[in-house]
């Protein structure tokens, strides 16, 4: 049992798998420096620096996966997936279907996501909703080091394509690189249990499609992923003193979604608050509403999400993100109205 950082947990899951499986290669811009320990251990043959050509190296990673490698392909941030989407949407996600089930290709996309360090609207999106809408993909989002290790381990053993999202605000390494830059004059609202945590030893893989109940409660289900889970837990602690008992679900896997756990929880509490750092409309919050209605539930429902392009100014950004205040307000309204 060892307390490590979120970023270390991801790196370690990759490192451990690379030792076991020689077909795993790492591809991305600057990976020799960004993943220096891996580069030093496995060399330039397995840790490949790419030009700023996401469309080509994502497409190539897909081809390499079809031909027997297991590439982990990195984006600097998920926002930049827009230049490489074709490889994902029209190629890697469709291979299994197009080949009549005869050809599957293992590919893990490692994509830092999310805001909270004042980098503006092109560098703080989550976009998991849109990605999770694509048949043929698996989309997972970890919120703790243990889950990061466990989900990445499962991803690396999976025979189809997986999008692994890595919330930047939980990664000390990302934050240091993109936000702090060695200063002690800035602060970030990093959820303590997200940024560092125990990874069990030996660490275990976490299956896709299994949500975690982070806190049990009776009055209200708050379902979220990533940073939102920690905001929800913080809100739940405060709401408790109001006499509102919240159940907090960490969905972890958006595609497949753990419908059973969601339905069981909402069936019990009768109320659902979706907390999502991705955009509000046509995304995760809607999907949660749909699976509840499909299950015959009719919960009281609200959602705390990002509603517009993320603003740069830190006070505006904070207000735009699903923060503890917004969650508390919405929760109170749901329970008291």
């Amino acid at each position: 049992m060892q307390v490590i950082s979120f970023g270390q947990a991801v790196d370690r899951a990759i490192e451990d798998a690379m030792v076991r499986d020689e077909t795993i290669v790492l591809i991305g811009e600057d990976v020799p420096m960004l993943r220096a320990p891996l580069f030093a251990r496995f060399g330039a043959d397995r840790v490949l620096a790419a030009p700023i050509s996401e469309a080509a190296f994502f497409g190539a990673a897909a081809g390499a996966a079809m031909a027997g490698l297991r590439p982990v392909v990195e984006l600097y941030m998920v926002d930049f997936i827009a230049v490489a989407l074709d490889a994902i949407l029209n190629h890697i996600a469709k291979l299994e279907a197009f080949s009549g089930g005869k050809w599957r290709a293992p590919l893990v996309v490692r994509a830092p996501s999310g805001a909270g360090y004042g980098d503006g609207g092109q560098h703080g999106q989550s976009l998991w909703g849109s990605l999770a809408s694509i048949p043929g993909l698996t989309v997972v989002v970890a919120s703790t080091p243990a889950d990061a290790y466990g989900l990445m381990t499962t991803a690396l053993a999976h025979d189809g394509p997986v999008i692994f999202m890595e919330p930047k605000l939980l990664s000390e390494e990302c934050l240091e690189f993109l936000g702090r830059g060695g200063r002690d004059t800035v602060t970030f609202d990093v959820p303590a249990d997200g940024g560092r945590g125990v990874v069990p030893d030996p660490p275990h893989a976490i299956p896709f499609g299994s949500a975690a109940v982070r806190r049990e409660g009776a009055d209200l289900t708050i379902a979220s992923v990533a940073v939102g889970v920690h905001r929800a837990l913080a809100a739940a602690a405060i709401l408790e003193s109001d006499g509102i008992s919240c159940e907090v679900l960490d969905l972890r896997s958006l595609r497949p979604l753990d419908v059973k756990t969601v339905v069981a929880s909402v069936g019990k509490t009768g109320r659902l608050l979706a907390v999502d750092e991705d955009y509000r409309e046509y995304g995760l919050s809607g999907e949660l509403a749909a699976v509840c209605l499909e299950a015959g539930l009719s919960p009281r429902f609200d959602r705390v999400c990002v509603e517009d392009t993320l603003p740069y100014a830190r006070h505006l950004e904070k207000a735009a993100l699903p923060n503890v205040d917004r969650i508390i307000r919405a929760a109170r309204e749901l329970v008291n109205a």
Binding site: A56, G59, G63, A64, A67, N90, H91, A97, G101, K102
Partner: protein, 344 residues
């Protein structure tokens, strides 16, 4: 270079396409069906040089290369018919033919064959040294970002990749040169890639040029680019309106020109010069389509290779007969139980 073998492969590709055309005309094939007629010399000249482990990434115009590669014909045809026992279970279709066994993939997204092949090449360099990958692409596709990026990526990573770019003069209704700056060979060279041009109607020339590039790739000397110029014999796809207009200018042309003419004489819009310019350009595209699109025998590579086989007349006759029989059998097998896949 085994000329009879190349002849046979070209003929197989052509005969396959003619069978496809027939099936399409009968309504057994849906959507956009792009034929590779006219490209047989390139397919044969390049693909006969591939062996075990080599990868092949193709475009919407993929049949000649797949036929030459040895992908079984009846399952391919059944795939086009939409049969659930087709090559891809009827789920892929004409632009998404996959054979894992042959490391062969196609895509309907213009430009996508390059990154895919680069990935095949990367995996081969790690897993099967000496094996390479080949991307086929159209010339129009060389304006697509992922294709251009791949020129650089392949050089930067020194991939065992050969890019075969077929310039048939067109991208659907647009003549390639009207929207393409510079020459594609110089473009590839500008990325530091070996590049040359070859007459894509001449199977021997293609074979030789490709042999050099394939050899380089196999020895780890990096990627190269071969521009093969080639006629487009059948328009962009079956039913191409430009070709129909070229063949039946009055009946087919009328439909289009009716609305064009009424627009041209409408009040409002561009000045006389703009309007005249627009109409002139359209006429010239149409005229070009007519010249190139009427199965002009002169440009047909099959005819050229047929002549080179004059010395081997008996063998040629034998090959002709065998290929005809092979395709006939494949079509018969494909059509064995046809109800399911057909229209609707």
């Amino acid at each position: 270079m085994d000329l009879p073998h190349l002849y046979r492969q070209m003929l197989r590709a052509r005969a396959y396409e003619l069978a496809v055309e027939d099936l399409w005309n009968h309504g057994f094939i849906s959507g956009e069906m792009h034929l590779g007629t006219g490209e047989e010399a390139v397919a044969a000249g390049v693909v006969t040089q591939l062996g075990d482990g080599d990868g092949l990434a193709l475009t919407h115009r993929c049949s000649p290369a797949l036929v030459v590669r040895g992908v079984p014909l009846a399952p391919m045809l059944r795939e086009l018919l939409g049969a659930e026992d087709g090559l891809c279970g009827g789920r892929g279709g004409h632009m998404h033919l996959f054979s894992k066994e042959h490391l062969a993939a196609t895509s309907g997204i213009v430009g996508a064959s390059l990154p895919t092949a680069a990935g095949f090449a990367l995996a081969n360099s790690r897993l099967r040294p000496g094996a390479i990958a080949v991307a086929f692409t159209g010339a129009g596709a060389m304006n697509q970002g992922m294709a251009l990026e791949t020129l650089n990526l392949a050089v930067a990573w020194r991939l065992p990749l050969v890019i075969i770019c077929i310039d048939n003069g067109w991208a659907i209704t647009t003549t390639s040169d009207s929207v393409t700056g510079g020459s594609l060979v110089e473009r590839a060279q500008g990325f530091g890639m070996r590049a040359e041009t070859v007459n894509g109607r001449d199977v021997r020339a293609v074979y030789k040029a490709a042999a050099k590039q394939i050899e380089r790739a196999r020895c780890g000397k990096g990627p190269s680019f071969l521009l093969a110029t080639c006629p487009r014999l059948d328009g962009h796809f079956l039913g191409d309106p430009l070709i129909r207009m070229a063949n039946k200018p009055i009946a087919e042309g009328k439909k289009v020109f009716g609305s064009v003419l009424s627009s041209v004489v409408s009040r409002g819009g561009g000045g006389l010069a703009d309007r005249a310019g627009g109409v002139t350009q359209m006429m010239s595209v149409m005229a070009k389509a007519r010249r190139s699109g009427t199965r002009e025998r002169r440009g047909d590579p099959i005819l050229a290779v047929y002549k080179t086989m004059n010395k081997h007349e008996a063998e040629r006759d034998r090959i002709d007969a065998e290929v005809a029989a092979e395709i006939e059998a494949a079509v018969a097998e494909a059509l064995a139980d046809v109800g399911e896949g057909s229209d609707g």
